[in-house]
Every structure is written in C-alpha cells, then in structure tokens.
Amino acid sequence: MSHIQDTVKPLLSVRGLTLDIPLASGTLHAVRGIDFDLHKGETLCIVGESGSGKSLTSLAVMGLLEKNIRRSAEQLNFDGIDLIGASKRQMRGLRGDRIAMIFQEPMTSLNPAYTIGDQLVEALRLHRKVSREKARERAIELLEKVGITAAASRLSQYPHQLSGGLRQRVVIAMALMCEPELIIADEPTTALDVTIQAQILSLLVELTKEMDVAMILITHDLGVVARVADKVGVMYAGELVETGPATDVFGKPMHPYTRGLLHCIPQPGKTKRGEKLGTIPGIVPSLIGDVQGCAFRTRCPHVVEACRGDIPERGQPPHEFLCVHADGARAAEGEPA
C-alpha cells in the first residue's frame, strides 16, 4: 500500500518488498510486495499468524535471510542507504550499531560461554573506538536503565545465572549499547511470563520514547499490538492487508481478517463468559506457485467472484486496507460504517 509522503523523510522506507523461496515443488511467495514507512521514534507492530511472513520481513530488513531466499524491492531504504544494494560489510556495520535486534528467546541471542559484561562490552567496541573501561561504564549505565539491580556485579555473571526476564533485559541493554536508531524486536516477550511480559513491554515503550528510537515489533498477540503500537500492519499470507494508526485499526478494523482475529480472542469485560468465540474457518492457502486475487478469500465470509481478480487498495492514508468491498464488508457484518 502506498502512503502519502510525509513532510519528514521516513527513517525506513519499504516499497514492494518481495521474498521468494525456490522449492522443489515451485516458488514459495512468502512475502508479496509490501510497503511501509517508519519514522524516527515511531513503533510499528506487524501482527499476523505463523507463516504470514512477518518474521521474514524483519530478517529481510536486517539482511539476515537464508541464502536461498530471493529478496527484491522497489525500495528498501534506511536513512538514505539502499539496503538492497548494500555490501555485506556495510550491513555488518549497520547491524548492532544503527539497527539493533531483539529476538524471542534471549538464550539464543546470548553466548552461554561469555559473561554478560564481555558481551555488552563487545557489542559497543565492535562498532566504536572506545576503551574497555568506558564500554564497561556504559554497560553498567544501561543495565541500570533496563531495571537490573546491582548492575556492576551482574557483569561477571553468565547468561544461565539469570532468569528469562533478566536475560531479555540484558538483550535489550545490549541492543541499546550503540544508541541505535531502529530496533527490530521479533516476538520479544512470547517466551516470558505474563507479568514479566508487561514489564519488558513497558521498558521497551519507555526507552524507545526516551531515546527517540524507531521500533518494528513483530508479534502474534493483538493485546501487545494495541498497547504498544503507534502504527499497525496486519499481515496475512505475505501481504499487509491492513495498515494504519493503532487507534484506527482497533477502533474501526476494515479488513475482514482483522475483524476475524479480534473476534477470536476472549476479551474480559466484552466477551460473554463461556460464549462461543469467533472463528476463522479453513487454513492459510499455499503460497507456492502463482497466487492471484485475495489470499483470504478461501476463509472470508464475504467472498464474491471479484475476490479472484486484482484487489484494490481502499481507505485513506494513513488507514488503508486491501479488499474488493469498499467498506471491507463492515456493513454486511452490521458494523457501523
């Protein structure tokens, strides 16, 4: 979907990002031409179910795709740098410095054989010419910032000596070592307990606002999206089927899939206890070979013949969606226009 160019140049600009995976049975079109912009200090949440291509999208931005995945885009631009044309060396320079990552399972992003201190110091000294002492000071400062008590003594600890929540805090501190401009967080709280999840999320929100960092947060949890996002992209079968400000997407979800997802989750206070939850029948279609028309039509209650053809972009920026129905079939579901 295209957006009207804002007056301020976006930090990250993606147009027509396409990811193809050649398989024995044909080409898997994992991501099919997605567009989005991200400005300084903004948080974009990409929400979707497994296999929708949301994690691949984040890896594509980082340049961390498996070798067999073919990446193409009309534009993949980070602060004036063309990431498609960038050399491996250039990408290595960006990663961990101006673009940082936070993954789901903190144990996989921390090296079990090195102390927390070693890893934090290395994260900074890899990109900056600073003394070991200075880097250590910065590490302590950041550990305190992410809410770790007795930070100085933690530096000599190993990852296995920390709880899951503390580890994820260390990973966040590590991501912040070089003062990145963009953080990509892929399901950063999925492996954590609900109480810890709330703590880590509020930490991420606080820090990104305070340091004016842009964030792409990948999640399957609509609750997380609603509470964290400035902008939302709903991904289905490799496409962003609805994008917009969080208040608009949750306040007036236009795409039938977005509404379907919201009906699936029990909402205390809203859903009647024990009542039947909404369902989305069927399964995600295969994206191998030519994919035509709306990929959601096999599961959509409002499918019509036109769904097989080209799907128009609807809505007004910044809230846009892909659907043959001008109102996203809201009227058909008895929703106010």
Partner: protein
C-alpha cells in the same frame, strides 16, 4: 451432596535438588500443602508464573508423580491405592504442544485407538468404530484416519490429542496450556470445542494456562498459584471482579486486552521470581508485594475463607495486625 469428582488433601511434592557437584541436596517444595475440590462439570483455571508448580500438580493428578505428602481423591477414592491403568480411565491429559505429544511414526487411527488397546477394550472393529466416532466429535473427517501427524496442521493435531484423551470417556481432563502453541484463529476453535465437549459429556477440566483472558472465558473457578502454594482460590466472577491477593491483582493487570487507548499496564511487581529452593521468609510473596510491611517478612499468612473460596494474605486475615476490612486490592 456427592463427593467432589476431584479432591486434593494437603498435597505436597518435594524434590531434592543437588547444589553443585559436592553440595548436599536441598529440598524444593514444588507443591506445598495444596488442598482443592472440584465438583463435576467445573472448570478450574490454574494460573501462575512458570516454576510455580502448575505442571507438577498436573503430573501428580495424572499419577505420573507420587505426592510426597497428602492424598488425591477421585470420586472419594484415593488414587494412591489405584493402579495407573484404572486412573488413566478417569483422568486424561491434553498437552501444550501437539507437535511433540503425538508419535510421528503412528497413524492418527493408531494414536487415537491406543488407549483402547492398552486397556484391551473391544476388538479391532469396535475400536475403529470408536475412533471414527471420536474423530467426528472433535471435528476431524474420517479421511485423516490413515494419515500421520506431520500431514496435519497444529489445530488438527490438537484435535487428535483431544480425541485421544476423550476416547476413554474420562471424567476429568487435565488441559496443560492446550492452546498456547496455536495461532489465534485456531485457538478459538479449540476453546469452543473444549467448551462444547464439556457440556455434552459433563467433563471436569483442570485448565492450566498463563493466558488469563482465556481462563476468564472458560473457567468456573480459578486458583492462583505462587511458589507451590495456592494463594487465592475463588469463583471466576469473584476473582476477576474483586481479587483479594496482591499477586492475583498483578496477574489480572498483566492481561493485555486489545485496547489501544490503554498503555502497557504497571504490574507493580518489583523483583524477579524468587528462588524456590530458598523461598522468602514469612509470606513468600513479600519481596514483590506493593503492600508488604515488616510483619509480612516474619509471619506466614493463614488461609482465610472468602465469599467463594480462600486467600492467604495478612491484609485479609481478621486476626492479623495488618487486617483491613473488605480490602480488595
């Protein structure tokens, strides 16, 4: 009134955990003096953080672990005296991950009919009939009979797991995070199915979950577990309307409803989860409790009855110096 379908009387499970190579093993009270009653048709939601003892409880109920102390009664009979087979007829599990709980080398027909074969019930024909009926019950077409788990989606696999649990027509089903490995759209299908089956067969569920929105939707009673203790138990309505224990409140606050007008909630839970080998003194929850006072550090709270259950907190105990009348956190 008939005996509760499931009753736990002062059940405790203590593991001995070695500390280092030459360290003396120390006791870890995974489940610490838990008493519970479940009436037929009830759904007890068991919530708490990882490491609080939820899964140990499930193992004890399934007879996979013997309690160190106390008794588990099914329909008034202690299960200690029953053999595993007899118990398996009455209590069946559904696990979290349908990718690891189904044998990848067996067909769906084999997997679902296994309980019947173990118990030597019926012949090949009657077993196949039972499998077909049960698959229909959980919404799977008969054509999946000869397929393998790898050919199925996550939601379909969880349906197979449910079919396997139900083919023996158990009274109690232990659901250990049955939907947390599934996608949102599939999760709602499985939750609807579990609810329908409960109504149809009068099943009793112990529903272990970290998702309080799901628990609120499905459960009739809720037990909140912290460091091996049930710190609060109540009807779902009461627990969600007026949580009595500060930890219950923190859990309820952590539920992220899809409401963009609200930010990320402040759970007011300070320190991380304590070490279960060396639990904090007094009330185990005091290091993280926003209401804690000195009294909480030295004195263990008593179990106090509430309208529909009980709670362990000094603020709720009329005999405690910290008592506050009608205090809902």
């Amino acid at each position: 009134m008939s005996a509760p379908v499931l009753e736990l009387k002062n059940v405790a499970k203590t593991y001995r955990v070695k500390q280092g190579l030459f360290g003396k093993p120390k006791p870890l009270k995974a489940v610490n003096d838990v008493s519970l009653k479940l009436e037929r048709g009830e759904v007890l939601g068991l919530v708490g953080e990882s490491g609080c003892g939820k899964s140990t409880m499930a193992k004890i109920l399934l007879g996979l672990e013997a309690p160190t102390e106390g008794q588990v009664l099914v329909d008034g009979d202690a299960i200690g005296g029953q053999d595993r087979l007899a118990l398996a007829k009455r209590i069946q599990p559904i696990f979290q991950d349908p990718y690891s709980s189904l044998n990848p080398r067996k067909t769906i027909a084999d997997i679902v009919s296994l309980p019947l074969r173990v118990h030597s019930i019926g012949d090949a024909n009657s077993r196949e009939k039972a499998v077909r009926e049960t698959l229909e019950l959980v919404g799977l077409p008969a054509r999946v009979l000869n397929t393998y788990p790898s050919q199925m989606s996550g939601g379909q696999r969880q349906r197979v797991a449910i079919a396997r649990a139900l083919i023996m027509r158990p009274e109690i089903v232990i659901c250990d995070e049955p939907t947390s490995a599934l996608d949102v759209s599939v999760q709602s299908q499985i939750l609807n199915l579990l609810n329908d089956l409960r109504e149809e067969f009068g099943l009793t569920y112990l529903f272990i979950s970290h998702d309080l929105a799901v628990v609120e939707h499905l459960a009739t009673r809720v037990a909140v577990m912290y460091l091996g203790r049930i710190v609060e138990e109540a009807n779902v309505e009461e627990l969600f309307a007026t949580p009595r224990h500060p930890y219950s409140r923190a859990l309820l606050n952590s539920v992220l409803t899809p409401d963009p007008s609200q930010g990320v909630p402040d759970t007011q839970l300070g320190a991380a989860y304590p070490n279960p080998i060396a639990p904090p003194s007094g009330c185990h929850f005091h290091p993280r409790c926003p209401f804690a006072q000195d009294h909480c550090k030295i004195s263990t709270p008593r179990t106090v009855p509430t309208n529909s259950g009980h709670v362990e907190c000094h603020l709720q105990d009329p005999k405690s110096p910290m008592y506050r009348e009608n205090f809902s956190v």
